[in-house]
Point group: C3
Chain length 444, copies 3
Amino acid sequence: MRRWLAVPVLVALAGIAAGTAYVDWSKGGEGAGLYSHEWRPEPVHGYWDPDRFYQSVGTVEGRFDAGQCIDCHSALTPGIVADWRESRHSAPPRRAPVGCPDCHGADHKALAMPTPKVCARCHAEQHDAFLSERKYGFPSHALAMERATDSKHYVDKPKAETSACLQCHSVATKCDSCHTRHRFDAAEARRPEACTTCHSGPPHPDDEAYFASAHGQRYLADGSSWDWSKPLVRGNYPAPTCAYCHMRNGRHVVADKSIWQFGLRQVNPGTAENQVKRQRWIEVCADCHDAGFARERLAELDRERAVTWKTLDRIERRLRDLRGARAFYPRAGERPPYPSDLIDTLLPSERIGFHEGQASAFYNVSPIERDHFEVWYFANLAAYKGAAHGAGSLVGEAHARISAAERAIAAQAATLDGRAAGARPDPSPLWLDGEYTRHNRENN
Amino acid sequence: MRRWLAVPVLVALAGIAAGTAYVDWSKGGEGAGLYSHEWRPEPVHGYWDPDRFYQSVGTVEGRFDAGQCIDCHSALTPGIVADWRESRHSAPPRRAPVGCPDCHGADHKALAMPTPKVCARCHAEQHDAFLSERKYGFPSHALAMERATDSKHYVDKPKAETSACLQCHSVATKCDSCHTRHRFDAAEARRPEACTTCHSGPPHPDDEAYFASAHGQRYLADGSSWDWSKPLVRGNYPAPTCAYCHMRNGRHVVADKSIWQFGLRQVNPGTAENQVKRQRWIEVCADCHDAGFARERLAELDRERAVTWKTLDRIERRLRDLRGARAFYPRAGERPPYPSDLIDTLLPSERIGFHEGQASAFYNVSPIERDHFEVWYFANLAAYKGAAHGAGSLVGEAHARISAAERAIAAQAATLDGRAAGARPDPSPLWLDGEYTRHNRENN
Amino acid sequence: MRRWLAVPVLVALAGIAAGTAYVDWSKGGEGAGLYSHEWRPEPVHGYWDPDRFYQSVGTVEGRFDAGQCIDCHSALTPGIVADWRESRHSAPPRRAPVGCPDCHGADHKALAMPTPKVCARCHAEQHDAFLSERKYGFPSHALAMERATDSKHYVDKPKAETSACLQCHSVATKCDSCHTRHRFDAAEARRPEACTTCHSGPPHPDDEAYFASAHGQRYLADGSSWDWSKPLVRGNYPAPTCAYCHMRNGRHVVADKSIWQFGLRQVNPGTAENQVKRQRWIEVCADCHDAGFARERLAELDRERAVTWKTLDRIERRLRDLRGARAFYPRAGERPPYPSDLIDTLLPSERIGFHEGQASAFYNVSPIERDHFEVWYFANLAAYKGAAHGAGSLVGEAHARISAAERAIAAQAATLDGRAAGARPDPSPLWLDGEYTRHNRENN
């Protein structure tokens, strides 16, 4: 390490250590984790992460049994009482009903907002499976909350933006993300909407991809007449839903077949581990399709990824060259430092892409960096999710966006280059290189 | 007022007065209202605003009773006859059927296209409630038609564009916008699609917001099995639809709980009136949620609005500065005047945003003005509607668009500034100011 | 023809002739058609175009009857067996069941992937109607596969992109695009999702248009309760679906009422042929609406087209002027030649729009050409499909995009012009001309 770097880096490391020591895990206090001393929870966090932040309403005093709860709440909040009455909890086979105090406690001044641990008292198998996903790292449901809140950009951005994130990332901290309270229905979670409530929009267009596919269109056409009380095993459904493929046989593990992860990293699809995952996919598809078809569709996905990453790499190299030439405008030192980032304040640096520093990606960057983020994240994911779910039109559309973005970024880059060099840019590196053309000639 | 302004202004005022006097309210004549002498109705207007423009088809002569109408139209237009047969009109409890001539008249050469006044003969309570919305001003359903057609941009734009507007704005002038003829079903209007037929797309993404929310996803998953004959009172539905919350207990008033209006004006959410409206919202939410949760979600919406308006204000100030420096390109005098606008012709001026002149917003403006319009209207509304309906992904996405737009507008502005000043722009006003950062540091 | 053009053109023609002669129609060989010698099929092509490319799986030996197939496949692929059991094929009235070998053959080493010709053995009327569409040229379903694969851009683009095209263009080569195997249900194909599986997204936003219309919203609200076993004849359905209007009375012809074709060419809507088609439309609408209403809505569509084409023509003229001034950047000679295009390699030329050369439209063009493509194709189609399906919000949104694109293209053009001429561009041609304004003043 260069000597002039040593001082600020040491200062920064000391700051991080101090920050970590400062973490206050108490309820109603500050957030947990490396960056948590930098942000304070909002009251609404109590609903998204009850274990850490929920405070009971204190307006009613006394201890109540289930019948008493129902008596009052039939008048106060009849919607949730009606849901509970229709749920299995109100009349489970071969045991006593699961009433309000079983999950919330009986003391009205110390009510609990139930978390997965509460559900696990009866549904241990599902909860264990759910937690086992942690071994696959992030992205995974079990890590969704801590990875969201223990991050730079959670500190850098206003609460009005980050609170919206937690509504979905709370999938890690409460079970009613998929099994809406107070029905807690398995049938609901078998349907795609249980997933697309969160998995939609540019950062995770699973909704768009599934419903654009032949599978999703079959579901839209006559899914309302299927028997959703049946478990998700082969032969039971005329077309697959999210959970049918991703939570095979109802097992609460989603990440065990993930080859390309979330589409945000370039991976080698041919590793031994990925061969195993591929075989798992083929087995799922073979419930309805022949194995050869499944294999070819997966190969098609690999080819899609290869083409897209080739382009994304080319774009990223272009940005690295610009950064090397100090051609970004405005440069890192010309824009405000990130609130939480001591190193960034002392040594401002441009960051390219997600993995050099998430915070940089969404805001406070120059136009060309933002455009890169947009194509690398949103267009890339649309192509990936489209190809993975058999939504051809999404793939075509996303490739067109990536192609258009490459042109636009090249045009911007030429301007920035020219401004930096004081000369008209030579078009040759991009336009005459012909890599794209050569690739196609070789592979078509 | 400056003296050199007086003459053209007086001329313009005289012109407006003359124009108003010229209005011809007769059927088949010109439109009504201040600007109506500038446009002529198309034949299709007769279907959107029947009271003013509908002309009966004159091909069949004679007076007919309901049975005779049904006899012929069973062969001619069997679809609507089948609808009517299934409607309550064909067999109402405790009274005679409501037949064709009851609404359309018996004389086939002078048939009426029924308007709300016709429906009000039996449904006075609903009609009175509907009309009572006028006191909330615009936007409101009861004023939707007159405010659309009596406006500058209705004159400025080609009919091919404005006719499309009336299909939805006719909600003020006919009841079958929500209760499709000839079923006129209350059950239909309880479902979200009755509303999203119009409330969708960038200028009012309620469709996108509702269906992206947990409420909407519940509806999509199993709404087809709910009993839609039940009135919209608490306890009757497992998840709310548009009408459930916005037309509580089936009351035909939508605007009485509107705090942030349509999201297009910055309002003070803490006025006494808005406190009353807030309490009304909390009561709705409490059908299923605890009041504290409802209060926090509303506070979250307020915070979202505060952040977005802060950014929008900053962008608008930037445009005002540019206008002050005469840096728009092309400037107002360099583009064609609006057809209907005498003042604009005599004294061309750039207009920023909706409220300085709607017509300017959509077209005939320089790129930076259009970009401002886009972010102020469409991205702003997506953020607002997303936050209001609990659609977190929409909020995140919209904030990203607003943030990207601010950068792009800043880049354009720097170019325009530089061109106007003949010098390289100083990046400091935007990039080093750090307002965003300071705001976050103070509030996170 | 100029003399210096003669040599390369003759060489090119000779090359084309040689290429055609080289076509190998054998299975597993190369593609068919003029450009087919330039591309090799992927294994997945066997599923999209079975007649040409399908190879039977060879792992199982022997000849089997229907019962034996079912025995094994109940365990291997229970999903498709369950589908077949519920299909009419398993128990047709007044004839023996249609079992697996009837369509696939009995020899497991030489299984066939059934094509329309196989279905035509029993469903000749539908197949004949389907094939009769060829006389309307392209776009039409019957020509969807050959026109997609026998084209320049199918060669120019990577397989990872073009394979996605075939999933939908295979509508020409297999019947289960609309009647999903192994139910092959007429009821399914009557629902809009059978069509929107392919007809969605920017190049054909029928999905977006239909579901944004009052028709589509009615379907969404209560379509799941309609009786889909009924044929598509008037009086049977409360609102139309795609097939109800476009495949009147279930006839397998979609193109016979197409006035504006796909919206990609400017047509004269008043030709004798188009008057006949217009009358056919009015007859469809009159199942539920009065004929005058239908006529006016069609006239509204014509007006929409007139306005949009006026703008598109103006934009195209602008691009032609730029090309004439050699102002594109990069120019055709500065970018890599298309792999398959001999003429383009010898005589590089900029191509504007679809019909001068499809390949140029999607990629490998300068930013202004791409922007033109985007507005001419995607925004144009959204306006057209919106107007045709009564989706007003789509029309407004698309017109706004077209208008914004014209401004952006004009700004780019001014920069390119200025760079080419070395002078500041004169804004007058676009901004002071006032054509748009004059048009409106004359027609409103």
